[in-house]
């Protein structure tokens, strides 16, 4: 990718970086200035409305991958590459009823870890924490690296500078405003991303035309229009399960389920899933214009910016730069906030300081956000090239949590030991498949083994569970302030 000549000058890129950095940090400070409690900071006061809830869900799921990898997949796998990518929305759609149930069962919850601790006990909780932190940090590092690489590819700004700026800006406004800042900036970022993608799509249709694009593809690369291309179909199913696993287990989504107002979660996740689905297609089909425009594509992951730059010149490159910067920031900030919550709530408070005051928790959250930023920066700095593969590896782990989460929310009799073994053996089987067969079956195998263990373990050894156990706010209401809640169960 580095060999590609940049579409923007470093000066223009730097000006855009500085301008947007100032905007995000100022907005983050503004929206977070009235945070008074840990609830305000970590779950945005638990009363986020429909518009902000939908936008933050959408923005978090639109990563730099959606805008950069969707065109790459369309270029490499054709139709099913971009349509398969849009199947990532299924995770959001399936999580919609779960978000409502989570909010109802756990009105005072903070993290996905709270659910595992109360539903399955300390062993399952700690296994889950290992999986979730591994995934969270893997995703953070991959986003930080993607930021540096994309900013360099688009504008020629050195990798270390771009990566440092995007990480530093996201840490700064998440630190200043917590989840309120994240959700507020996500709204603005969603508008920018969708407007940018739509404008580029309209221009591509007007300047290239859809039928000439179809004719050129039919003549030069007909396999891209093949509805039965095997590799694309395998990608589709793996992507589907990976996406479901990512959403079901990750605290990024659980913290939103806790933050959205009553009755908002279901509608917000449903609407976000529906309006997310067309974005990878609208961004991805740009790449199919490359054969018509006669563009030589030296690296498939740069096909989107190359087509945009050819269609619109420097203006197109600026559009792509803004879209990518917004997409990166909207996911990085969410991940910083959600991972910090998991570390502070499940690690610090539950393991070491069960009686930590509200002010101590807020302070701990801020320190954790800074530390996460520094650790991510240090790992990103050497620019290890195999980190994308590491993130794919986490597919085996996250898919093994799908069944413990879904069954645990709806099925009273799920055996806690089955949940533990489902995660451990599901992850092991997924890893075996990853190394033994290929990345495209890791999530599928992890989910299948996990399902078999949950079903067999629960049908053979059913367990009774009282849903009321999940509502810790009842205990704290009778025991006094929230800080009286106990340690590990």
């Amino acid at each position: 990718m580095m060999q590609t000549s940049a579409a923007l000058s470093p000066f223009t890129g730097l000006m855009l970086l500085i301008a947007f950095s100032i905007v995000w940090v100022t907005l983050g400070w503004y929206w977070g200035r009235n945070n008074k409690t840990f609830d305000d900071y970590s779950v945005a006061g638990r009363n986020v409305g429909m518009a902000l809830a939908t936008a933050t869900t959408l923005a978090t799921w639109v990563t730099s991958n959606t805008t950069m990898v969707a065109p790459q997949l369309a270029y490499q796998m054709g139709l099913w590459g971009m349509v398969g990518y849009s199947f990532g929305s299924v995770g959001l759609l399936l999580f919609a009823p779960m978000a409502q149930r989570i909010r109802m069962l756990m009105p005072g919850g903070y993290t996905a870890g709270d659910f595992f601790r109360l539903r399955y006990g300390p062993v399952a909780w700690r296994v889950f924490l290992c999986i979730s932190l591994l995934y969270g940090i893997g995703w953070l590092v991959s986003l930080g690296m993607a930021g540096g690489i994309l900013i360099q590819a688009l504008s020629g700004i050195p990798y270390a500078v771009g990566m440092t700026v995007i990480l530093g800006v996201c840490v700064a406004y998440t630190l200043l405003g917590g989840l309120r800042a994240v959700i507020g900036t996500d709204f603005v970022q969603t508008i920018l991303i969708t407007l940018g993608v739509a404008i580029l799509g309209v221009l591509a249709i007007r300047r290239i035309g859809i039928e000439p694009m179809h004719a050129a593809l039919s003549a030069e690369r007909p396999e891209l229009l093949n509805l039965l291309l095997p590799v694309s179909l395998m990608f589709l199913f793996n992507n589907l399960l990976f996406g479901i696993g990512e959403i079901f287990h990750s605290n990024v989504w659980w913290s939103r389920a806790f933050a959205f107002g009553r009755g908002v979660g279901f509608r917000a996740f449903l609407l976000a899933g529906l309006i997310w689905a067309p974005i990878p297609i609208a961004a991805g089909f740009l790449a199919l214009g490359a054969p018509v425009l006669g563009i030589n594509v030296p690296a498939p992951d740069m096909v989107g910016p190359l087509v945009a730059a050819r269609l619109l010149g420097a203006t197109g490159a600026i559009f792509i730069f803004i879209v990518v910067f917004s997409a990166l920031a909207s996911s990085l900030d969410s991940l910083l906030a959600a991972t910090s919550d998991l570390i502070v709530q499940d690690g610090y408070r539950r393991h070491f300081r069960p009686r930590a005051s509200d002010a101590t928790m807020r302070y701990a959250a801020k320190v954790t956000i800074v530390l996460l930023g520094v650790i991510t920066w240090l790992v990103c700095l050497p620019r290890l090239t195999n980190l994308a593969a590491v993130l794919h590896l986490t597919g085996a782990f996250v898919a093994s949590t799908i069944w413990p989460v879904a069954a645990g929310l709806y099925w009273k009799r799920v055996n806690p030991r089955a949940a533990v073994w489902a995660m451990i053996l599901g992850s092991a089987a997924g890893l075996w498949a990853y190394f033994g067969i290929g990345f495209y079956v890791a999530a599928l195998t992890g989910a299948a083994v996990s399902m078999a263990i949950i079903l067999a373990g629960t049908l053979l050894y059913p367990h009774h569970f009282d849903w009321a156990t999940l509502d810790e706010s009842r205990d704290t209401a009778t025991a006094g302030p929230r800080t009286q809640a106990g340690g590990p169960t």
């Binding site: 009363n47 959408l58 969708t194 859809i210 039928e211 509805l227 107002g261 309006i275 067309p278």
Partner: protein
């Protein structure tokens, strides 16, 4: 099995229109939430 040109056209145009509609939908929802005082 090659996707016909008409289906390809419908797919692409629908995706672009729906993406373009997203900011309108979100701004409309925000306006409604602000009027009702339920944005946060």
């Amino acid at each position: 099995m090659i996707l016909p040109a008409t289906a390809f056209t419908v797919l692409v145009i629908a995706a672009v229109i729906l993406t373009a509609a997203t900011p309108v939908i979100l701004l409309g929802l925000l306006f409604r939430d602000l009027m009702k005082g339920t944005s946060w």
